[in-house]
Subunit: 351 residues, 3 copies
């Protein structure tokens, strides 16, 4: 169950640099490629001639050409040409609204007429020389909402990530959960604590003494359909914490674009945008590798949790205070789903 | 959906030279072995004692012996003996009519009483010193009819096999489709063109100048249930093409025995019978390797096409002029299936 | 179909020495660990908070701690604590009766109130300095009853294990099957024969001449739910066979604990308790390796037999004289299953 009238991150441009990319998003099999005008296109991955996947084809002079019998497909889902054929009456396939922004390709798997490019979210960290970004992609065998839960309750860091970003103080410090329209915020501020290994490394790279006491913060922001941005960082203790001057801080935003593939599988575009040493490419690599290891710990937990939930489908889970962020996020998702279902019913009644 | 009252290629004798071979053909699990008289036998792969697969057993002095408890099974599906047992009333298992011919084992998965050895097809290229044969076997995850479609429309060569046998002129030259009883023929003749890489290699091996212009032909013959023989070749341009004297030609027959395993998987016995340099064993190897690479390109396309069709089961495909050969073949298959269904219904009404 | 009110071997203590062990037994997903009192505990592998598998957690100071958010679970299935939470009203999970005995962990997957530790079977070979034990664990893709059948009819050794323990004389010597309450015994005594390779090795290690003629015995004992102990051995021919003086014998008990995982998969705890050279650890290793190879031959046969039975579900198998042991064992299992079903029905009628 995922809203379809929404912008999801589908892929990054490097994934279709050499050949078309086939990927399933919200249950829809799609092909992504760059057309002759240099723009990204997203179509059903289905040739109307014999059902071959268009992603096995090639882009020839900017046109997607089926690799089976040479049908040339246009960005609008209408056949442009085919050797020896008149194609005017060929059945069209779906094209999906798509936007390239912030280094990602965003796709709208629902009703094309409702897609509004202005609704693609903006981020402080993108397109700014003060920030550097690195990240990766994981395929994870779980309902995307389990990942939202995971990221909106960071007490799991103490247990799942005990050797890198976890520390007992996360658990011991209550979090606060707020709603602001369709945005959900869960935040936690820890004072005068030691920095865990990942942050010690980051402080060292940022020219700060990793052994000093710090204030640490975690501010998780969910926005529908399923993006979670987490402001994280440490500041020399007593300098104002989150509000400390930049020179006293080492801070970043954990970027989580969570894209459903099917009901029980998802694409996880993870990364970190940092506000220190933005020009240091080897630091970007080092952080990406560390983050990749950390998020593979989540992957194991989430896939095993999903397997358990499929074994015990009738069992109710608990929603504790620490789960408030995920619970609010699910309520927003449910409201969007209900609205989409009502539109379908309404349209049927009118029809 | 496959006709069962038909001869299918099941295996080659080398596959059961050392031990019995278990293989599923048209949904039936069978075991193949050579009996004491030197003849091939095909039985249900199921020991009547405890259901062990007989293909895990051994052939001892020409008798198939179950590898679990030593039951000795006869070629007729009746138990011959078992240590310490009286076997007269043991349940029989099915035996399947089987013929060894042209280097292949042919099996009849349907009603044994209807099997007629004379109906095993004959081929010009088999058992002739003027021809040499080489080939291989692929297991492919698709409905066998997708392979028939593939072979009855060779415009795909331009796209799927662009580096070996494909060339733009295939696409640009209309084909002609004929029916002759239960035989379907699709053919295409190209004139005064360059030879593609595979044919240049063949011409060179045949002592001809590969840079010269050629006439090229493709004559695909489908016969039920699912065999496709394709006469292919090139001749020095202007010498009569297909009808040119042998000395001006390099020609062969692509052999395709297409055997259903299940509704969505198949065994593909592919090969090439050539009419030049029949005594050159290293040429046979070279051609087999090239053909193996080419047909693995089809395998990927067909398996991905099948996956797409299972995702979109309700979607209608198009039947263009180039698809006429496959469409006629499917109509013949459908008629055979209807006839088999009618016989079953008729038998039930009489019963 | 497996009785649930019974003691099954679930694992060995080394399997949860470092971390909790997750294992499915009779359809139930369980976690095994050792608590602060040094006792083994078995619980549902499901954290009541968010459904994470507890087996991904850690044992901290003797308490099982969920690896996702730190919930501390008690051996009784009630939550002990969780950081920042009041846990009194948390839903309980099932705990399973469990006993550590004879080097194994035994679990009772059914009604806890019926579990009686005194019903865990005793064995002559356990906890005795005259015996040495070595063994292993295989996961096998078959109904556990196919393994019971296998072990209660050793004529299969002639065919499945022809190079190690099989010999023609097994086949040729009739077996005798007895029932003694819920115990089923199948036994066979062979006289004045050559020893097969495995027993020649054992005789050599035991200081006996492996080329001499021997008397050989096999006494298989099934006890419910699914344990099979097989007394095996050879004695210098004419010394009394099974009743020969110890000095003339090389003998052992093949240990088979057969534990259902699901309807079509099982855990096979196999081993050999021998009554010669008990202090020779390298001999234990040598026997374990030989036995492991032999039992992997059974695994292949049983998994292929299971696949065949799923293909032909309607087909009746034969029950010959050699199958009497397995048939009696199945009848006892069926009676236990019927009794459990009747209790459930009775309880429902009273409720």
């Amino acid at each position: 169950m995922f809203p379809k009238n929404a912008w999801y991150v589908a892929c990054t441009p490097d994934e279709f640099a050499d050949r078309p990319l086939g990927r399933r998003i919200c249950g829809e099999r799609m092909v992504f490629y760059r057309n002759g005008a240099g723009q990204v296109a997203a179509l059903e991955d289905f040739c109307p001639h014999r059902g071959a996947p268009l992603s096995l084809g090639r882009v020839c002079e900017g046109e997607l050409t089926c690799g089976y019998h040479g049908l040339v497909m246009g960005c609008d889902g209408r056949t442009v040409s085919m050797p020896g054929q008149r194609v005017e009456r060929f059945a069209a396939i779906r094209s999906f609204p798509v936007v390239e922004r912030h280094g990602f390709v965003w796709v709208w798997p629902g009703e094309a007429a409702r897609a509004d490019e202005a609704a693609v979210p903006e981020f402080e960290w993108s397109d700014s020389p003060d920030w550097a970004y690195g990240g990766g992609l994981y395929h994870i065998g779980c309902d995307y909402r389990l990942m939202v839960d995971n990221l909106m309750d960071l007490t799991h860091e103490t247990y799942v990530h005990s050797t890198s970003i976890g520390q007992k103080e996360i658990d011991e410090t209550p979090c606060e959960t707020l709603r602001n329209g369709d945005e959900v915020i869960t935040r936690r501020f820890m004072h005068d604590i030691g920095a865990p290994p990942f942050w010690q490394m980051a402080m060292r790279m940022n020219g700060q003494d990793p052994s000093q006491k710090v204030d640490r913060w975690q501010i998780c922001r969910f926005t529908p359909p399923s993006h979670v941005m987490i402001e994280v960082g440490v500041a020399r203790a007593g300098q104002g914490g989150y509000d400390a001057p930049l020179a006293a801080k080492t801070s970043a935003t954990v970027v989580d674009f969570i894209t459903p593939e099917t009901e029980t599988t998802m694409w996880y575009f993870w990364g970190m945008a940092r506000r220190f040493k933005p020009g240091d490419a080897s630091l970007t690599t080092q952080i990406r590798e560390g983050q990749g290891r950390i998020f593979s710990e989540d992957r194991e937990m989430l896939e095993r949790q999903q397997a358990n939930l499929l074994t015990w489908p009738e069992r109710r889970l608990m929603t504790l205070n620490i789960d408030a962020g995920g619970a609010h996020a699910r309520r927003i998702i449910d409201r969007l789903l209900a609205a989409e279902a009502a539109e379908v019913t309404g349209a049927a009644a009118e029809g």
